[in-house]
Symmetry: C2
């Protein structure tokens, strides 16, 4: 599969490296961000091109770009690339219908992982979720992704959206909870390091048992005195206060339901 | 040190077992909850007594009870126990002044960990924070705790409060983010298991680098289209919508400051 990867962000970066290492023929990296694109192309011995100069003869076009750029890149490629090429995006929250308007063979290849360029990551255990408009495309995408991951599943657009939203909570929002903890400690000249055993135990428990069953803390005990003390303490940051309030309410309601 | 442990909840349970295993002489477990108290006393070959029948001759009274019960138990012991006894609580958010009103030697012994009876835990790496009203008490408490943990520090009331609040975010609220993710997936007949690599990577990154620097997702990208789609999807649960909104706003603001 002669492959063109479009994008130079975190997802494009990690997927390009993994596919390159697995022997996939990445003929071009195309990106709006020239500096990042050139760097990435160099890393995987590929050619960097601007979006306007994409090779129209590739077998697979992988769009690892922002959700709101998918439509415009699709429009740009429309009528130029060969008819039997496969065009996929990597977005959790964008329907493959956006691509189906323009192309015959379309899909999504969604890696359930958080990517930062600073940190290497072993992709073989990362779950990849495939959506495709045709069985034949689905099969080709499964084969394609299987060279980098042993954990490949088929899902539809709606399932992928729900996975993405769940991922925002367990990854992005969890990371923000850690950020707030870290900021509070720094503010009081304490080191975030002290939280390591607590964080590790929290995660271990949630993964070993059910997180809903493992809830501890003032909210689930409905310890209103402590909660009021904490909200008052957080007056330096109204966002933290709001988060404390709505998350505590949600914890109390989840307990009453389960 | 002849020790009486008051309480039968998660903290009392794990501390009792650890001190017992380290050879501390726990002469009594006293608790309001008779069933839990008897069970715990049996586990550590101790005697269960009601709060009214506490031995007044012990050297150390460890109150591992709810914040709002500390004052009333202190009142109850006032004038009965011997004058040079040490009385400590384990609360992150309660000043030791509550005990100082009644006794000469007081303090707090705060373990920075989340405890559930279902899960064993190795206490030796758990950070314990000591606060005491007198240097002599401080020293005795450090010695006492050092038999179960290698990670003992001295802090004051205000530092402990800030650590407790940070812990609510990194532990209790993080666990709720995982709970919401888990509920969303169950609702769509998907297994929480698929989140394991993502969760582990999120935590590993946050601990290895700075979580503030490691933020990913729609909010930090200010991808409003995706955020609106997610909030609309969450209409089944207004609490989830509110959390999505305030956490996203906080992520955007933290980015603009740092």
């Amino acid at each position: 599969m002669k492959t063109v990867i479009i994008g130079s962000g975190n997802v494009a970066f990690h997927l390009s490296k993994a596919f390159y290492n697995a022997g996939i023929n990445i003929i071009q990296i195309a990106a709006r961000n020239q500096e990042e694109g050139i760097q990435l192309a160099k890393k995987i011995n590929s050619e960097f091109v601007s979006l306007e100069n994409i090779d129209t003869n590739a077998d697979l076009y992988l769009l690892a770009i922002k959700d709101d750029a998918i439509q415009s890149v699709a429009k740009m490629l429309y009528g130029k690339i060969k008819e039997d090429a496969i065009i996929v995006h990597t977005s959790g929250s964008t329907s493959i219908a956006v691509l189906e308007k323009y192309f015959e063979n379309v899909g999504c290849l969604y890696p359930l992982q958080t990517f930062s360029k600073q940190k290497n990551i072993e992709l073989s255990a990362v779950p990849f979720f495939i959506t495709a408009n045709l069985m034949l495309v689905e099969k080709q995408l499964v084969d394609f992704v299987s060279v980098i991951s042993k954990n490949v599943s088929i899902i539809n657009d709606n399932q992928r959206l729900s996975i993405h939203i769940a991922a925002v909570f367990v990854c992005n929002f969890t990371n923000h909870m850690l950020s707030i903890g870290s900021e509070i400690l720094h503010h009081h000249l304490l080191n975030f390091e002290i939280m390591k055993p607590l964080i590790n135990e929290t995660i271990e428990k949630a993964l070993q048992f059910d997180p809903v069953e493992m809830q501890t803390g003032p909210a689930v005990r409905e310890d209103k005195l402590v909660m009021e003390k904490h909200i008052d303490f957080l007056k330096m940051n109204p966002n933290y206060q709001k988060i404390y309030q709505v998350v505590s309410e949600s914890i109390i309601e989840m307990k009453s339901i389960s």
